[in-house]
C-alpha cells in the first residue's frame, strides 16, 4: 500500500506547480488552468487524508470542491469572454487600464 506521506508530497508538489504557474505565467487561460491545478492538488490530499483517517468528511468536501470548480470555470470563462469582446487579448500584461 502506498503510504500517506507520498500522497501529501504529491499534493504539495502539484499545489506548488499551480501556484508557480499562477504567479509566473502571463496568459490568462494558463493562469486559469494553474488555479484548477491548485484545487485538484487539494482534492488529492483531502481524499488521501479521508482514507487514512477513515472519516468521510474529506471526501464530501472533495465533491463540493469539484462542483464549485465547475461553477468557477463557467463564471471565469464567461468573464473572460466578456472582456475579450471589449479588448481582444488574453495577455495579463495588457490588462492595464486600471492602475495607480
Amino acid at each position: 500500500m502506498v503510504p500517506l506521506s507520498w500522497y501529501i508530497v504529491l499534493s504539495a508538489i502539484v499545489f506548488s506547480i499551480g501556484m508557480f504557474g499562477f504567479l509566473v505565467r502571463r496568459n490568462l487561460i494558463i493562469i486559469f488552468l494553474s488555479i484548477e491545478l491548485m484545487l485538484n492538488a487539494v482534492n488529492i490530499s483531502l481524499v488521501a487524508f479521508s482514507h487514512y483517517l477513515q472519516s468521510i468528511n474529506g471526501q464530501i468536501l472533495v465533491f463540493f470542491v469539484i462542483t464549485v470548480a465547475a461553477a468557477e470555470a463557467a463564471i471565469g470563462l464567461a468573464i473572460l469572454i466578456a472582456f475579450y469582446r471589449n479588448k481582444p487579448t488574453v495577455e495579463a500584461d495588457e490588462i492595464n487600464l486600471l492602475k495607480g
Binding site: Y52, N57, G76, N86, L98
Partner: protein, 478 residues
C-alpha cells in the same frame, strides 16, 4: 441521527435564495424595471422579519448536523448584511437606469451574494464556510463585471476573479492541512483535537493557520493581499463597489473571528503576532497611498483598506471585548461607506463620470445639501466626533489598549491622522474651491431615503453610542 427539524434555523437564507430566483423570473415578466428593486426590498424585509422571529423565540442552536450555528454573533452580522443589501438596492435604482445593466440578474446576484455571506457568518464547519464563501465570491465576480459593454468593468471582474479564485485555493489547502491533522472539519472539534493530540506546537498547524489568514486577508483586503482592491473598486459599477466594500469585508471578518477564536484559540500568540504585522502594513499602505489618489472611488478603496486595518485591532486584542469592538466597527462602517458612495453615484449622470476630485470643486455653492452630507460622511470616515466613525475607532483602540497593545494603538492613531488629510481634502474641494463647471446632481426618492438613513444613523450613533454598544454586547453573549 440526522435532525432535519432545525433546518428552520436556515429559513432566512432559504428565503433570500428563493427571492433571488423569483427576481430572475420577474425580470422576464415586468416592463417597468423598478418593480424588481421594490420586490427585492420586500424580500429583504420578509427574510429579516423571519430571522427576527427566530431570534425572538430565543433559539441559539446548530443546524445541518452541527455545521451551521444560529447565535447572536451570526445574527449581528446578518443584520449588517441585511442593511447593506437594502441600502445597496436603494442606491442602485437611479444608477441602473443610467448604466442600463442587466437588471434582473443584477438584483438576484446581490441576493445570492448576501445569502452566501449569511452562510459564512453562521458557519461552524469548514465545509459550510467554504460553500458560503464561494457563493458570495462567485456572485460578486459577476457583479463587478455586470456592465458587459464597458472595458473597465470587465477588467475589474477579471482581476477580482483571478485573485479571488487564487485565494480560495489557498483557503482549501489550509482546510485540507487542518483536516489532515485533526481529523475533523468542525471548528469546535478542531480546537479539541489540537489540544488533545498536542498539535499546538506543530509547524504544520501553524502553516495551516497561515493559509487561513492569507485567504481571509484576500477577502478583507489586508496588505500585502490588497492588490486587487483599488482596481476592482474603481472599475466596478459604483453601487457594486459600495456593496462589496462592506459585505465581503464584514463576512471575512465574521469568519476570521469565528475560525481564529473557536478553532485556533490555543494558537492566539501566533495569530495575533501575524495579524499585528499585517495590521500595521495595512494601515500604513491604505492611508499613505490614498494621499496620492485623484479618483474618488480609488481613494475610498484605499480608505477601506485602512479601515480593515483598524478593525483588525479588535481581533488582535483576542478578547470578547475586542471582538465586539470589531463588530461595532463593521456596523458603523456600513453607514459611512454606503453614504459616501451614494454621493459619488449622485454625481454620476448621463455622460458625466463624476469620479474625479475636481468634479467636487465648489459643490457647496451649487448643491449645499449634498455637500453637507458628504461632509458628514468624510468626517465620520476620518473619525471626527460627534460622528459614529469616532465611536468605532475609539472602542477598537480602547480594547486594544486593554489587551496591552499600546504601541499598535499609537501607530493606528498616527495613521488615522494621516488619513484625515485625504478625507478633509474632499471637504476643501467642496467648500473652498471655485467651481469649474456646473455640477449635475441626479437625485431620486430611494436615494434620498438611503442618504437620510445613513446620515441619521451616523449622527445618532455618534451622539448616543450606548444603544449600539449594549446591543453588540448582548449579541456576543447570546
Amino acid at each position: 441521527m440526522v435532525n432535519l427539524y432545525n433546518i428552520r434555523l436556515l429559513s432566512p437564507e432559504i428565503i433570500l435564495v428563493m427571492v433571488a430566483l423569483m427576481l430572475l423570473l420577474l425580470d422576464l415578466m415586468v416592463r417597468r424595471k423598478e418593480i424588481i428593486a421594490y420586490a427585492g426590498l420586500a424580500g429583504v424585509f420578509i427574510s429579516a422579519y423571519v430571522n427576527f422571529r427566530l431570534v425572538a423565540l430565543g433559539w441559539s442552536d446548530t443546524s445541518l448536523v452541527g455545521m451551521f450555528m444560529f447565535d447572536g454573533y451570526a445574527n449581528f452580522f446578518k443584520l449588517i448584511f441585511y442593511i447593506n443589501l437594502a441600502l445597496t438596492i436603494l442606491i442602485s435604482l437611479r444608477y441602473t437606469v443610467i448604466e442600463r445593466g442587466a437588471l434582473g440578474a443584477y438584483y438576484s446576484l446581490l441576493f445570492f451574494a448576501t445569502a452566501g455571506m449569511m452562510l459564512m457568518a453562521g458557519a461552524t464547519d469548514l465545509i459550510t464556510l467554504y460553500m458560503g464563501l464561494e457563493l458570495m465570491a462567485l456572485s460578486t465576480y459577476v457583479l463587478a463585471g455586470i456592465i458587459r459593454k464597458e472595458l473597465r468593468s470587465s477588467e475589474a471582474a477579471i482581476k477580482y476573479f483571478f485573485l479571488g479564485a487564487f485565494s480560495s485555493a489557498i483557503l482549501l489547502y489550509g482546510i485540507s492541512l487542518s483536516y489532515g491533522l485533526t481529523g475533523s472539519t468542525n471548528l469546535k472539534e478542531i480546537a479539541a483535537a489540537l489540544y488533545k493530540l498536542n498539535l499546538i506546537d506543530n509547524p504544520i498547524t501553524v502553516l495551516g493557520l497561515i493559509f487561513f489568514i492569507v485567504a481571509f486577508g484576500f477577502k478583507i483586503a489586508l496588505v500585502p493581499f490588497h492588490m486587487w482592491a483599488p482596481d476592482v473598486y474603481e472599475g466596478a459599477p459604483t453601487p457594486v463597489t459600495a456593496f462589496m466594500s462592506i459585505g465581503p469585508k464584514a463576512a471575512g471578518f465574521a469568519v476570521m473571528g469565528r475560525v481564529l477564536f473557536e478553532a485556533f484559540g490555543s494558537l492566539q500568540a501566533e495569530w495575533s503576532y501575524i495579524l499585528m504585522v499585517l495590521a500595521v502594513l495595512t494601515m500604513a499602505t491604505g492611508s499613505i497611498i490614498a494621499l496620492a489618489q485623484t479618483n474618488i472611488k480609488r481613494m475610498l478603496a484605499y480608505s477601506s483598506i485602512a479601515h480593515a486595518g483598524y478593525a483588525l485591532l479588535g481581533i488582535i486584542a483576542g478578547t470578547d471585548g475586542g471582538l465586539s469592538s470589531m463588530m461595532n466597527y463593521m456596523f458603523i462602517y456600513i453607514f459611512m461607506n454606503i453614504g459616501a458612495f451614494a454621493i459619488v453615484i449622485m454625481l454620476r449622470s448621463e455622460g458625466v463620470k463624476g469620479e474625479n476630485l475636481e468634479d467636487y470643486a465648489g459643490l457647496a455653492k451649487s448643491h449645499p445639501v449634498t455637500s453637507a452630507l458628504m461632509l458628514v460622511f468624510m468626517f465620520s470616515l476620518a473619525g471626527i466626533p460627534p460622528t459614529a466613525g469616532f465611536i468605532a475607532k475609539f472602542y477598537v483602540f480602547v480594547e486594544a489598549v486593554r489587551a496591552d497593545n499600546v504601541t499598535l494603538v499609537v501607530i493606528a492613531v498616527l495613521f488615522s491622522m494621516v488619513s484625515a488629510f485625504f478625507y478633509l481634502r474632499v471637504v476643501v474641494y467642496m467648500y473652498m474651491k471655485e467651481p469649474k463647471e456646473e455640477a449635475v446632481v441626479t437625485t431620486s426618492v430611494p436615494m434620498s431615503i438611503a442618504l437620510a438613513i445613513t446620515t441619521v444613523m451616523i449622527l445618532f450613533i455618534g451622539v448616543y453610542p450606548f444603544y449600539l454598544l449594549s446591543f453588540v454586547k448582548q449579541s456576543i453573549l447570546g
